[in-house]
């Protein structure tokens, strides 16, 4: 039951959020990459045993999408999203 730090709402219970997958490469221009590169973008996502950047959506909260860095073994949240300006 993670305690996740939303940049707007601060610490909230995991149940308020929806997991959005690890942060992989940015979406490339589909017209400029080869088939292999496009498939890689869609299917090869980071899956380390350790820290990973990942996206979360505050679905039952402020609706904000943000990125944290979480250790997949210890669940420690190593990096919190920065505060909203």
């Amino acid at each position: 039951m993670l305690l996740i730090h939303c940049p707007f709402c601060k610490n909230r219970n995991e149940t308020e959020f929806v997991y959005g997958g690890p942060v992989g490469a940015n979406r490339p221009d589909p017209n400029l990459v080869s088939d292999e590169e496009w498939v890689d973008y869609l299917t090869m996502v980071p899956n380390p045993m350790g820290p990973v950047y990942e996206r979360w959506w505050h679905a039952r909260g402020c609706d904000k999408w943000f990125i944290i860095c979480r250790d997949t073994v210890t669940h420690e949240i190593l990096e919190n999203p920065s505060e909203e300006p």
């Binding site: 940049p7 707007f8 709402c9 149940t15 039952r60 402020c62 609706d63 909203e84």
Partner: protein
Amino acid sequence: MIYDVKIQRKFLNALFDIKGSIREVKSYLKEYINSLPVEPNSYIAQGNWKILYVGPNHWILVAPIDEEEELISSLRPHDCPASMSIVLISDTLTFFYIEGPDAFDILSIASPLNLNIDVFTPNTATFSEIFGLKALTFRCGEGFQFAVDQSFGDMVSNYLDLTLAN
């Protein structure tokens, strides 16, 4: 009833969803809103209105339902600048008011929030969960108010009945 609370279901408030930059929203609404809240998840009461800051550049105005017509003409949702969004959402939320000595207990059953007064202050208003459903939650008088999607209203009533059952 095993808890000492009074529960009122208030079906309809006039609600306006407002999105835009702080500067622009302040300027557009300056004739109607004296003070725009900018502290995350806080609200400012103005007469019998409440202006809630519930997300980045996202406010909700809560007013009595009989002021809806007038507010539509004042705020002009259909006419505001392209970089702002004002949408009437009165029917989307149904409100519950929980008051009484055990209101805190009921909320701690329904909500995962830290409800201690130093964290959830009399000025806090935020979206969170009530019985697992997205809900707007804030203190009200001696108790709490929360609002859920209108279509889930009956389910929340059922939940409250089960919680209070003998």
